[in-house]
């Protein structure tokens, strides 16, 4: 099932760690602090556990929203974007 992961985390180092974890699970960045991609129930839970561990005692919130195919068809966007890569969002070297 497609999953949306969004987070608010203040400390840079922890935030980078969590964005890296999202990428490890094959998710793609769609906003500065939002990732999206395919995760089955097991992998979603696994990612949640690992993110929980990475967050530790730091202040922050992470949400996981599974989205079913039926609702996926209703997803909409409004966009005016220059063609930029936001991959460097969490202070990593952009590529």
């Amino acid at each position: 099932m497609k999953t949306l992961v969004i987070y608010d985390i203040e400390i840079d180092k922890v935030r980078v760690k969590i964005s890296e974890l999202c990428k490890d699970y094959g998710l793609k960045r769609i906003q500065y602090s939002a990732f999206f991609g395919e995760l089955n129930t097991n992998r979603r839970e696994e990612l949640r556990q690992r993110i929980k561990k990475a967050l530790g005692q730091t202040v922050g919130r992470i949400h996981f929203f599974p989205i079913c195919d039926k609702d996926l068809r209703l997803v909409a966007q409004v966009m005016n974007l220059p063609e930029v890569l936001i991959d460097g969002a969490d202070g990593e070297a952009s590529c």
Partner: protein, 350 residues
């Protein structure tokens, strides 16, 4: 950042085959992802569990030990190929699959009927696949190029006779009949390549089949393709717990993985000949540099072969990707040697 549409529409991700083809490329690990860098810039990043295989086809590449370790843990094979496409090294976990019983039976089989049965199966599979490849290319020329259609069909009919000859080849073990068996195989092959030359007329210069040292485009593609396939076949044979150096049809030669040369016979036509002939007929530019395939062409061929390996074919009444069939056949050979199962050569449809 990718627009959401792209991500929403992305199909279920298939596992990727990573190819390092540019001089100086490096393979590394970042967090839980395999990273390919060129000139210090990241060019590809894939989570380890979405990687199928890694193939290095260039010189001057580097691999980090962390990346190697993670690949091995995930069961990702790393194949290193030289400029001819021949695998000169392969990285996988030691002691992954060796089962003593399989190997013991494999060596014992050499002296009994099993060696003959397997060797005959490989040859039968090869000839049948050659026939089906001719039929496959004939099919599309039935109306457009009548003379080619007729020529290929005739060759196929003659090769069917070679197949029938196989039934008469019989003896105590493979050593007793290697000559006659190789002779049938050789005569069928001559007919096949003669038909291929007729098929390619007008598309590309093809001087007939040449193995080593060929300098023409089609033979170079075939040789490179077979070498790439060899790496995959070696992987399948090892995974099935067989000894790659103890073949049946091909004689033992120190340092030659003769079982690989036996077993590869069932797969040459479906995996390599089809994409190569299709490339030649479609007029894809085959770049040569000093009598050798150019780097771009090697990559193009490798990608086509990889595609071919993920394409599904009928096997055992179901559809499987060719690479899965390769593994299943290897396991089946092992299980035949252990006396658990029958063995039938893989024959690709047309």
């Amino acid at each position: 950042m990718k627009p959401l549409d792209l991500i929403l529409d992305s199909p279920e991700s298939e596992k990727q085959h990573i190819i390092l083809s540019n001089f100086g490329a490096s393979l590394g690990k970042k967090s839980g992802r395999l990273v390919v860098r060129e000139k210090g810039q990241i060019v590809t990043e894939v989570p380890f569990d979405q990687v199928e295989q890694v193939t290095v086809i260039t010189s001057g590449a580097s691999l980090s030990t962390d990346a190697i370790e993670e690949c091995v843990r995930h069961g990702i094979e790393i194949n290193l190929l030289d400029f001819r496409g021949t695998p000169y090294a392969k990285l996988f976990a030691p002691g992954l699959t060796a089962t003593v019983k399989t190997r013991r039976e494999q060596l014992l089989a050499f002296n009994d009927q099993r060696s003959l049965f397997l060797a005959k199966s490989f040859v039968r599979g090869k000839i049948q696949n050659q026939i089906n490849t001719l039929k496959y290319f004939a099919k599309y020329r039935k109306s457009a190029r009548q003379e080619v259609y007729a020529y290929l069909q005739d060759a196929a009919i003659l090769m069917e006779k070679n197949l029938q000859e196989l039934t008469g080849v019989d003896g105590l073990n493979i050593d007793a009949v290697r000559g006659p068996l190789m002779s049938v195989e050789g005569r069928a092959a001559t007919r096949y390549w003669d038909a291929v030359a007729f098929l390619l007329k007008g598309y590309v210069e093809f001087p007939g089949r040449e193995n080593r040292g060929a300098t023409d485009p089609v033979n170079s593609l075939l040789n490179y393709g077979y070498a790439v396939l060899e790496a995959r076949v070696l992987g399948a044979v090892l995974q099935a717990g067989l000894d790659p150096y103890a073949g049946f049809l091909h004689v033992d030669r120190p340092g030659k993985a003769s079982l690989v040369y036996d077993f590869i016979e069932e797969f040459r036509q479906p995996v390599v000949d089809r994409p190569v002939l299709a490339m030649a007929i479609a007029g894809v530019e085959i770049g040569m540099e000093a009598d050798r395939l150019g780097d771009g062409t090697k990559r193009e061929l490798l990608e086509r072969i990889t595609q071919r390996l993920s394409a599904s074919e009928r096997f055992d009444g179901k559809k499987y990707p060719l690479q899965a069939i390769l593994l299943r056949q290897a396991r089946r050979m092992a299980s035949y040697l252990r006396g658990d199962q029958k063995y039938k050569p893989f024959v690709c449809g047309w």
